[in-house]
Symmetry: none
Subunit: 131 residues, 4 copies
DNA sequence: GTGGTCTAGACCACG
DNA sequence: GTGGTCTAGACCACT
C-alpha cells in the first residue's frame, strides 16, 4: 500500500502514518497477517526519520491494529477486541467539537449523517473487495 | 457561561477554550451579540495566562464565531457565512480517520449514525431552550 | 457630511475619523472655511469617547487639514503647503509594502495603475461638483 | 537576505519583518523553495525575541507567502492563488486614504502614477536579475 | 535543534 | 481598563 505524507500539514507525520495505515486496514488493502515494511525500509521510502515511523508503529500496536513479531516484524491484526465503553466515550469526545462547529455553520442533521454514511460506506465497499 | 479547562489533558488549553465556546454557541448558551469576558478577566477566572485566552479568542475570530468590537470586546456572532465547499472537505478530513478507527473496531453504521444523531440533537435541543 | 466608523475594523477609530475627513475634503464635501462639528457634538453623534475625536482633530491640525479657531472651532483648510520632499518619501514608504504584496499576488502594472487612476479620478470628479 | 528592523519606528517589528520578506520575494531575492532561517536563528541574528519572529512567520503563512514544512521549516512559496476579488477590495481600502491625502496636498495624477510605476518597476527589474 | 505551547511581566495605544 | 506588542524563559512534541 502507498503511504503519502503531507509535510505541510499541521498533523504530525507519525499521526498521518497511523491514520493511513488504519484506513488501509478499514479498506481491506492491508489484510490480516500481512506484514508492514520494516521501520528502516518505510522511513527510507518516505524520506523521514526512523523515530517517526517507530512512533507510528508503537501507537498502532497500542491500539491493537498490529502485532509485533520478532521474525515477521509488524503484522496486521484485524481481530480486535472492541472495548465498547472506552470506544464510545472517546468517540463522543472527538466528535462533539467537530459537530458543534458544523452545527454553528448551519449544517443540517441530514446533511451531516449523509456525509458520515458516505465515509462509512467507502470503507465497507472497499472492504468487500478485500474479501 | 462556565468554562472549565482540564490541565491534565493533552489538548492545548486554548483549543479547549475554543471548543467550549463553540459548544456554548451551539447550545444557545452564548447568544448573538453577547460579549465574552475580557481576556484578562477570563484568564484570571480560570487561573491561566491572558495570552492563552488571547489565542483562543483569535482562533474564534478567525473562524467567524466572534467579532472583536473596539468598545464591547469579543462579541458572539451566530450569523456565519458557511463556506459550504471548504466546510465539507474539512469535515471529511477530520471525520475519516475517526470513522476508520471505529470501523476497524467493529462498530456498525447504524450505531455510529445513532451516536452522531444523539450529539447533534443535544445541540438542537439546547438551542430550542435558548429561544 | 456623514461619518461612519466601523467598530470591528482593526483601524483605530481616530484614524478612521481622520481618513474620512480627509476624503471628505478631497471629494469637495468639506469646503474651505467650513466648520467641523465640535468635539463634544461629534463624539455624541457617533457614540464614542471625547478623547477619540480630539485625537483625530489633533492629527488633522498637524497635517494642515484644519485650523483650530477659538470661535469657529475646527475649520477646513484646503490651501496646504505641500512639503514636496517629505511627502514623496512618506508616500514611497507607505506604498512600497502594498505594491510589493500585489506584485507577489501577480497583479500587472497596468491593472495597478488603472486601479490607482480610478481612485484618484473619484476624488477629482467629486471635487468638480464641489466647485 | 539581510533583514534590518527599525526599533524606533512605530511600525511593529513583526510587521516590518513581514513587509521586508514580502519585498524580498517581490525583488526575487527570496526564491521559490528557499528556506527562511529558523525563528530562533533569525531572532538571535536581529536581536529580538523568537515570538516576534514567530508572529511575522505566522502572518506570512496566512498570506500564502511561505509554507511551513515539518522538515525544512519556513519555505518561500511564490505560486500564490490570487483571490482577485478580495485582493482588489483590500487594495482599494488601503490606497484610498493615502491617495486622498496626497490629492489634498496637490499632487497631480501623473506624478502619483509615475511614483507608483517607479516602485512597481523596481520590483520587476530586480525580479529579472533573479532569473 | 525545530516549532508549539504556556507562563509571567512589562509598556503602549486605544477608548 | 482594554487589547496589542514585546520580552524572557520554560517545557514539550516532533523530526
Amino acid at each position: 500500500m502507498l503511504l503519502a505524507v503531507d509535510f505541510q500539514s499541521d498533523v504530525p507525520i507519525y499521526i498521518q502514518l497511523k491514520q493511513q495505515i488504519i484506513e488501509g486496514i478499514a479498506r481491506g488493502r492491508l489484510a490480516e497477517g500481512e506484514s508492514l515494511p520494516s521501520v528502516r525500509q518505510l522511513a527510507q521510502d518516505i524520506g523521514i526519520n526512523l523515530h517517526t515511523v517507530n512512533k507510528a508503529y508503537s501507537l498502532l500496536k497500542e491500539g491493537g491494529f498490529i502485532i509485533m513479531d520478532r521474525r515477521k516484524g509488524a503484522v496486521i491484526n484485524t481481530r480486535q477486541a472492541m472495548a465498547a465503553g472506552d470506544c464510545r466515550e472517546k468517540l463522543r469526545d472527538e466528535l462533539a467539537p467537530i459537530i458543534a462547529e458544523v452545527f454553528c455553520k448551519g449544517m443540517k442533521e441530514e446533511e451531516l449523517i449523509q456525509e458520515i454514511a458516505r465515509i462509512y460506506k467507502s470503507f465497507s465497499e472497499d472492504g468487500k473487495h478485500g474479501l
